[in-house]
Structure formats: C-alpha cells, structure tokens
C-alpha cells in the first residue's frame, strides 16, 4: 500500500476542555487564531508537512474533545500514535492537575510497545493572559515533567503564536524518533534529492 512509502507521524493532542488544543493545532498548521473555534465534538485531524533534518514528513495531528464524557471515543483514535501532546492552561490549575490522568489513560488505551519511552510533550498554553491570572508556575510544570521521565515542556500562546512552532518542531522530532524506533526495519524508499528546494525555507 501507498502508506508504506511515506512517513506519517500520528500526533494526539490531549487535555481538558478549553485549554486550547484546537487553537494550538490551528495556529501551528494554519497560522491562525480565532475566538470562534467551536468546542470539539468527536475528533478531527489536520495534516502538515514538516521538514525534519533531511527529510519531509507528514504530521497527522489529532484533536479530540476534552470533556471526559467523550474520552471513550477518543481512545479509538489513540492507536498508532507516535507522540502525545498534553496541554493545560497555565491559568487553570485543574487543567494541570488532570494531566496525570490524561497521560495514564493514554498509555492504557494506546498501549504503546514501550510505554516508558513513549514520547510525550507538555504544553502550558495561554501565557498571553495577565500574569496575575497565572495558576501554574513554570517551575511546577517543569518539575512534573521531569518526574515523568523528562518530558519536554513548552509554554505557549495559541492566540499570540508564541512558541507554538518550537513546540511542534520538538513534537515532530520526537514522533519521528519514535516512528523510526518502532519500525526498526522501516525503510523509506523515498530519497530526497540533495538539491531539494527547502519549501519551508522562510527567511525567518
């Protein structure tokens, strides 16, 4: 099948309802923020081409509903994930406190081969809001990430496009790493020409 020819990285975004999962995904893929995204019902995904090192991979980013009620649905989508992004709202302590259960639930449902080494990335979102609103300090978040096997941690704003690109670069890298590890005998038949024009070669 054609799918063997390409590198498709499946990324799952999890976290409480309203922390900004849909906004982050849209900011990353479409470089847009809107106050009018609707609460996610069911699941959807966007894909994006990402150059990583010398190869171009496709990230398939899954956005699921945050409300626990619908988690039974979400698990159908976890299968085959290459990276799991845990998102919380830095202005909402509860959204941070539930990260643990999101992580556990993911590991149970996706049952990756090597749960210890499964790549997670944690994102603390909405840092654009007034500092006085902040409920979860960077220190606290980082401590938790460290305790879970050094999960990379990013603080972002989907609204102001702060750090979103960086976070997803890491997500893509770690997902690719995972994909390569999982499929040791995986051989990508597509060789990228050295004269490949870098399509993302923006002058940034």
């Amino acid at each position: 099948m054609a799918s063997q020819r390409k590198v498709l990285l499946k990324v799952i975004i999890l976290g409480e309802s309203g922390v900004g999962k849909t906004s982050l995904m849209n900011q990353y893929v479409n470089k847009k923020f809107s106050n009018q995204y609707k609460a996610t019902i069911g699941a959807d995904f966007l894909t994006k081409e990402v150059p990583i090192d010398d190869r171009l991979v496709t990230m398939q980013i899954w956005d699921t509903a945050g409300q626990e009620r619908f988690q039974s649905l979400g698990v159908a989508f976890y299968r085959g994930a290459d990276c799991c992004v845990l998102v919380f709202d830095v202005n909402n302590a509860k959204s941070f406190e539930t990260l643990e259960s999101w992580r556990d639930e993911f590991l149970i449902q996706a049952s990756p081969n090597n749960p210890e080494n499964f790549p997670f990335v944690v994102i603390g979102n909405k840092i654009d809001m007034d500092e006085s609103k902040r409920m979860v300090s960077q220190k606290r978040a980082m401590a938790w990430c460290q305790s879970k096997g050094n999960i990379p941690y990013f603080e972002t704003s989907a609204k102001e496009a702060i750090n979103v690109e960086q976070a997803f670069q890491t997500i893509a890298k770690n997902a690719l790493q995972h994909e390569v590890n999982v499929k040791i005998d995986f051989h990508d038949p597509i060789k990228i020409d050295s004269d490949t024009p870098d399509n993302n070669g923006c002058a940034c």
């Binding site: 309203g18 106050n35 894909t47």
Partner: protein
C-alpha cells in the same frame, strides 16, 4: 445460492438500473494544459483537460480554461507547473480582456473524435502536445501539456510522466484506441475495422498506446534527444498544423518521415466511417460536414480561435455541468483553505491527482510530497468526485421533476434519484438480508416517492384551531404537515412549544396563558436555587460547571447575529479580552438552571439491556411514572454539545423562560446522548450500523474493510442532531422535522443514512481508511443539501418499511402454504426467511 436463476435475473435488473442511475464521473483531469490563443502569446491559456463519464456512460473530452473557473486562485496553481525550471505560466492581461475565456471551452463526446495526433515532449518541444481531429474533419487547437514538474531526472530511471500519455491511457480505458502503423503519432479513436485495416492496426496493435509512449531502452540510446522515441515521427500534415497553431511544434524535419498516402487514406476512411457513427450518437451531435465530406484533409484545422464549441443540447448540458463543477471546485478549494485543512496547501493536491498517477510521478520533488500527503490527496479527490456526482444528481432530479410535471402526476413528488441503483447494489455482497432477493424486494420496494412539500404557513396553522384556540385537527395531522414541509419561521415560536412539550396539544388559548404564567414561576424558582444561593455558587461542582458552560457558550454560534456582539464586558474573569452580550449571558443562565433541573430528574436505570437500546423509555413502560431507581443520575448536568442544542431553541423562543422550557423538551429527546456511560450514543451508532448493513450491504462491507464500522465519523451528527453539519436556517428546518416524530422518533438515523447514501459511491471509490472517511465526513459540514437529504431520508425509511412488510408477508405465506405449495428448496422454509434486526423494527414502530 449464487447460481439461483432469480439471482441472475436480479443481476440483469441491476445492470439495467445502474445504467439508468449512474452518476457522471470525472475519470481524469490534468491541469496546466495550454491552448495557444494567438501566435505572439508564448504559451497561451492554461486550463484543465478532463475525461468525464456522463450518466449515460458517454465519455466526454473536455478542456476548461483556468480563467473561466470563477474564483480560482491562480497563484495557487502556479506552483507545480513552474517548479521544473522556475518559469511561471504566462499572464497576459491584454489577451485576457479581449475574449471570454469560456469561449475556449471544449466538450467533445468521444464518439465525435476521429483521431488524435500525438506529439510527445522532445528537447525542442518540451511540453508535447495532442491535437484532436473530429469526425467532421475539423481539428481542435493543440493541447500542450505543461507538466514540467514531473519531467526528466527520475533518479530511479523510471519513466517520467507526460500528461498526454496520461490522457491517452485514460481514453484507452473508455474507448478503443489504436495507433496507426502507417502514420506514427496518429491514434484512431473507436475506429471501424476498415479504418484499422487501412492503418495496418487491425491485427495485434503494434502501436497500442500502453507501450509506445514508454521510453524504449534501445531507441533511447539511439536517439538521445527524444524522451519518447517511438513517437518521434509525426504526421506529415503537421506542418500545416503548425501554421495555425503557432510556435513550439516539432520542427519541420521531424515530419518528413511519414508516407504521403496518409491524408488520402484517412479522408477516404473518414467518409466511410461517419454514417455508422451518426446513428450511434444522436443525430444532432454528428458533425454537419461529415455527410457531405468536404475534401479538406482532417488534419487541417481551421483558424481555431475562438473555436466553436460544437454546441448541441447534450454538450450544452455537459458544459453547464462542467461549469458548475469547476465553480464548486473553486469553492471547495476556498472553503478548505479557510477551514484550515492544509490539504490544499499542497501543490499536488491542487491538481486532483488520480491515485494511480502518483506511482508514475514519484521521482519529482513535488511528487515526493504527494506521496507524503497521499491520504489528503485522496480525500481531496473524493471531494471533487462528490461535487461532480452531486451535480449529476441534481440535474437528474430536475429532469425527473420536469417529466412528472409534464405527465401531470403529483408535483413535488419525485422518486429518489439514485436509490434503486444503490439499494440494488447487492451483487456480490450480501447483507443479513441478502436472501431477500427471494422476495423480489428490489422490484417492489424501488418505486418509493417522498412527500416533501411547502412549510406550514401561518394561515394553515391558524386554520387548525377553533375559537378557543383548541386544535380541531388531530395531533397526527399536524405532525405529518410539519414532517413534510417544516414550519414558516414566523410561527415557529408558537408551534415549537407544542412539539417541545411546553403546551399540551389539546390545550386552549386560555389554558396556554395560564401555562405560560406557571412556567415563568417554575423557571425562576429553579434559577433562584443557584442564582440566589452563595452556598451553591461556592461549591466546586458549580464552579466547574459554570466555567465549562462559559467556555462553551463563548464558542457557540458566534457567527449568528443573535450571539455575535460583544456589547457587554465578560463577567467571567476567565475570558479576559473577550466580551459578551445579553444573549450569551442568558444562554449561560439557562444552562446553569438546566443543571438544577437535571439534578431533580428521576434517575435512569443504568442497566439498559444491550438488546433494547436507546428507546427503552419511549416504549410502553414510562420511565417518568415508574418509581425512579436509586441509581446514579446519568446526566449530571451540562455536557459539551448542549450549548449547541440550546442556541437555536433559545433564538427561536426569543426569551429566557421559554427558551429554557423548549430546551428541556429538546433534551427529553436527546439527553441519552449525554449520559455518562455513553450507552445512548453507542446504541444509536449500532442501530445506524444495522441500517447500513440492511439497506446498503456493500457500503457496510466497505466500512468494515476500512475498519470504520464503529461509525465514529457519525458521532457528531447524532450527538447534536447535525447541528454542525447544516447552516443555521437549515438546522431549524431539520429539527422541526425531527421534532415531528411522524414516521419515527429516530428519524435522525435515516437522515444520517441519507447523507451516507449520497456519498457512498465516493467513499467506496476513493476512501480506504478510517481516518480518510472521518476527514471526508467531517468536511461535509456546511455542504449538505437539506431538502435533498430529507427527501432521501424519507425514502430510505419507506424502503425499510417495505422490507419489513415483505418479510412479514413472506413468512405468512410460507407458514400458511407450507403444506400446499411444493417447497422448491429446503431454504424456502419459514426459518430461512431472514428477520429484520429488532433495532430496525423499533425504528419503524416508534412514532407519535
């Protein structure tokens, strides 16, 4: 069983049906195919060349200028074609203004094509071209295939893809194409035996197109310059062609090789051939010059610009179809871009790449990316195919409506355009009811019409009541009227109150005044429980619910003017910088009050037997009257999705109190969707699955193959009654039809089935994985035609009903005649008659 004569008969019938109800298909399309518009214009006009299969299985070769596609973002198309050498396609505003791009459109049935002159790309003519010679002796201007991006330097040495070759191969699939042995580069289309003989192509085609276009190793070394050596040699008449076609044709020396007998022979053949063609094709399409046979050689084109479109009725239809399709295409493109799928950001997907083509172009840089984006490309292709099919559907419906008008039967009653084909589509896949063939099911259940009509007007409505304001017609009659046409918006505010349980059907106006007063009291009593209670508001549960509601309300229907403004500061601290308005605040209050109400609800037993799913409370044992069991209340207040359900109801009611009570009524119909254990959703999805399995076993099988049988891609549809799938005004119409409970309290499942039915061909042809289906279905949002969907849903309901009746009748017959009739086979015992799944039986029996 398979060899049963009845089955064979069925298959014949199906064949017939499929011929009648097939949909037009886009078999192939290629962008960046240029036509020269004037000699000084270097490249000419870019466009799309396509092969279309009409509903009659006619095939059309079509070329549409990019410029005539409304709203097409040209920049978006530059990318791929210019990638090879950085040369952007020319823009010539002056030329553009001087003509109407649509003047250049080409739509030619393949029957009208006599031959093709093929000039593959060479060093001197990088693009390569194809000239189409018509039966009438005319030629179309050359089509230049600017597919630079796919050309050359394939690292693996594989053959590069040339658009002209692609086109030929697609034409070959739908017509007989043979290469002329005496005139290299000439390919006869659906040639007569005589033609073939004259071209030395009668016996095993030396020049069958699958081979000659592929680089031949031997020839390639022998002629370095040629990319496609075997086709170097072109028709001698090409030189004439060059004159009117302008530059960049093969050089004169290339043309000297072929024989001089060409034109004469061909002309002779053409004349012999034409008459037989005229009766194949309707006479209108036959070229006028065919009979008289002017001596002009076929390859001498007239000055082609702007060339004629060979207009005839069929072509006009096709043209219009194309137009609309391409217009929709551009809409799809824009829509997708806006809705943030990045499918279209990919240059290759912009070309609507047929899946099998990707094999051949993987050497190019762009192709690598399409490989990566293959799934997206497939979803995208599927979308376009759907648009084409949809157009065909529409036209057919219109035609049928016209027919019926002329034949004087019920206006407004059309049969389901394509139902027969779909439902008869059983040949090799048998659903649980596969053996219904025995029942002659298809023939008898096929001619079902819908009954949709105009909305209930205020006049109609008021005529239902006497002076006291009491209904004088039966409730059932009102339900039927609303089911069939919906309700005029002006009276929704009143009518919905009946359907949503605010007013009893048999109430008088005086009673309703009292009810309104009580409802106001009741509502504020409920609201006070939280509004006036600091203790309640301080609880964590309340805070959490409040936050959740606020978050969702601010994400609900903000594009609807009723909810759009930000005239109030947001009272909630959590939305800094995001304003609110009165109506949003009322939505929040209603939802918080509903939490209070829901907490008082009699709890529902969690032990819903899997065999009797969602509808236990609708059946005989009323859950309200029976003593509530002491189990958990499964609803537990606000759940995501409820704000979506509330918004239209509140907007129609226009005030907080009635908005609340109408919402309570709506929740009575939908609350099981929100139960914590999700059993309500699960059982609905299961029932829908059975519906698919019974009415469309092929689709079911396909979903199974895609591992999509969980039907999660329908989750959003069912959870909030298609709220995200239709525009605001359509939602009100759809919901009132669902409120009516006329045919079934579960009519929304037939609506779901109707949408799937509409897209089943596309899904089966193009989508192969669960995620592709999910994406495709999600992206149907806001593109679904409501009226058509409701028509189809009704027909699907009737079809199921017909099935059930057939089963019953058959059983009865077998039971009664088991002694008298000579049982033809052991299967024809009662036990062998399949039973409709109980869940589907319930769909038919649960109505008001």
């Amino acid at each position: 069983m398979e060899n049963d004569p009845l089955v064979a008969q069925m298959e014949d019938f199906e064949l017939e049906q499929s011929a009648l109800f097939a949909q037009p298909k886009l078999l192939f399309t290629r962008p960046k195919v240029y036509v020269k518009t004037s000699a000084d214009n270097k490249d000419g006009m870019p466009g799309f060349i396509s092969v279309i299969e009409t509903i009659n299985y006619e095939h059309i070769l079509s070329w549409t200028p990019e410029a005539s596609i409304p709203g097409l973002d040209e920049d978006a198309y530059v990318d791929i074609s210019s990638q090879g050498d950085g040369e952007a396609p020319p823009r010539s505003p002056n030329t553009r203004r001087s003509f109407h791009p649509s003047d250049y459109e080409v739509n030619i049935p393949l029957q009208q094509i006599y031959s093709l002159l093929v000039y593959p790309p060479r060093m001197k003519d990088r693009h390569g071209s194809i000239i189409v010679n018509l039966m009438g002796g005319e030629s179309l201007p050359a089509f230049y295939f600017h597919d630079d991006a796919n050309k050359g330097k394939g690292p693996s040495g594989g053959p590069p893809s040339w658009g002209g070759q692609e086109l030929l191969q697609h034409l070959e699939q739908v017509s007989d194409i043979v290469g002329s042995a005496i005139e290299p580069g000439v390919y006869l289309v659906n040639a007569t035996q005589a033609d073939k003989v004259n071209h030395g192509s009668a016996s095993p085609p030396q020049a069958s197109i699958s081979h000659p276009l592929m680089p031949d190793a031997k020839d390639a070394t022998h002629d370095n310059e040629s990319l496609y050596p075997k086709l170097d040699v072109v028709d001698p008449l090409r030189s004439e062609t060059n004159i009117s076609m302008g530059a960049s044709s093969p050089k004169a020396e290339d043309t000297g090789v072929a024989t001089a007998t060409g034109p004469i022979t061909i002309e002779g053949m053409r004349r012999r051939r034409s008459p037989s063609r005229t009766n194949q094709e309707s006479s209108t399409t036959a070229s006028p010059s065919a009979g008289s046979g002017p001596p002009g050689p076929f390859a001498r084109p007239r000055t082609p610009l702007p060339f004629e479109n060979h207009i005839d009725p069929i072509i006009t239809t096709v043209k219009e179809m194309r137009w609309t399709v391409l217009e929709r295409f551009s809409q799809v493109a824009r829509f997708s871009r806006e809705t943030a799928t990045n499918i279209l950001d990919h240059p290759i997907t912009k070309q609507i790449l047929p899946p099998h083509v990707q094999q051949r172009i993987q050497e190019s840089e762009a192709a690598k990316r399409v490989m990566d984006d293959y799934d997206s490309a497939r979803v995208y292709l599927a979308k376009w195919a759907a648009a084409v099919a949809d157009q065909g559907d529409r036209e057919r419906r219109e035609l049928q409506a016209m027919d019926r008008l002329h034949s004087g039967s019920f206006p407004g009653r059309h049969s389901h355009a394509s139902d027969k084909r779909r439902i008869n589509d059983h040949e090799d896949e048998e659903g649980p009811l596969g053996s219904f063939n025995v029942l002659d099911l298809e023939t008898e259940c096929a001619m079902i019409h819908h009954t949709r009509t105009e909305p209930l007007s205020p006049m109609d409505w008021f005529a239902f009541f006497d002076e006291q304001g009491r209904l004088t017609v039966t409730e059932a009659k009102v339900r039927e009227a609303v089911f069939r046409g919906g309700i005029d918006h002006d009276i929704r505010i009143e009518v919905w109150k009946f359907f949503l349980g605010v007013y009893p059907w048999n109430s008088t106006e005086a009673e309703r005044i009292v009810i309104r007063a009580t409802k106001i009291e009741e509502y504020f009593a409920l609201k006070r429980e939280w509004f006036d209670s600091a203790a309640v508001q301080e609880t964590e549960a309340f805070q959490e619910q409040k936050l959740r509601i606020e978050k969702d309300v601010h994400r609900t229907d903000r594009t609807i003017s009723f909810f759009a403004s930000e005239t109030l500061p947001n009272p909630s601290g959590d939305f800094t910088g995001v304003g609110s308005n009165e109506n949003l605040e009322l939505l929040k209050d209603i939802l918080l009050t509903y939490n209070v109400w829901a907490a008082k609800e009699p709890t529902v037993s969690t032990t819903i037997k899997p065999a009797t799913p969602e509808d236990s409370s609708n059946s005989t044992s009323s859950s309200l009257s029976s003593a509530p069991s002491k189990e958990t209340n499964l609803l537990e207040g606000y759940v995501q999705g409820m704000s979506d359900l509330l918004a239209p109801v509140f907007a129609v009611m226009g005030d907080e109190v009635m908005g609340f009570w109408a919402f309570v009524g709506l929740m009575e119909k939908t609350k099981k969707n929100f139960y914590r254990d999700q059993v309500g959703m699960q059982s609905q999805l299961e029932t829908l699955g059975k519906l698919i399995q019974t009415l469309d076993p092929k689709l079911y099988k396909h979903l199974e193959k895609c591992e999509a049988l969980n039907l999660f891609f329908c989750f959003r549809w069912l959870l909030i009654w298609f709220k995200r799938e239709f525009e605001w005004v359509d939602i009100m119409r759809l919901w009132e039809v669902l409120f009516s409970d006329h045919l079934s309290t579960q009519f929304h499942l037939f609506v779901a089935m109707a949408i799937l039915d509409k897209h089943r061909d596309v899904m089966m042809d193009h989508l192969q994985e669960f995620d592709e289906i999910l994406k495709y279905v999600n992206d149907l949002s806001m593109t679904i035609d409501l009226e058509e969907t409701l028509q189809d849903a009704e027909i699907l309901y009737r079809r199921l009903e017909c099935l059930a009746n057939k089963v019953d009748a058959k059983r009865l017959e077998l039971e009664q005649g088991s002694t008298s009739s000579s049982g033809s086979a052991p299967e024809s015992s009662v036990a062998a008659v399949p039973e409709l799944p109980p869940a589907l039986r319930r769909l038919l029996t649960q109505k008001k």
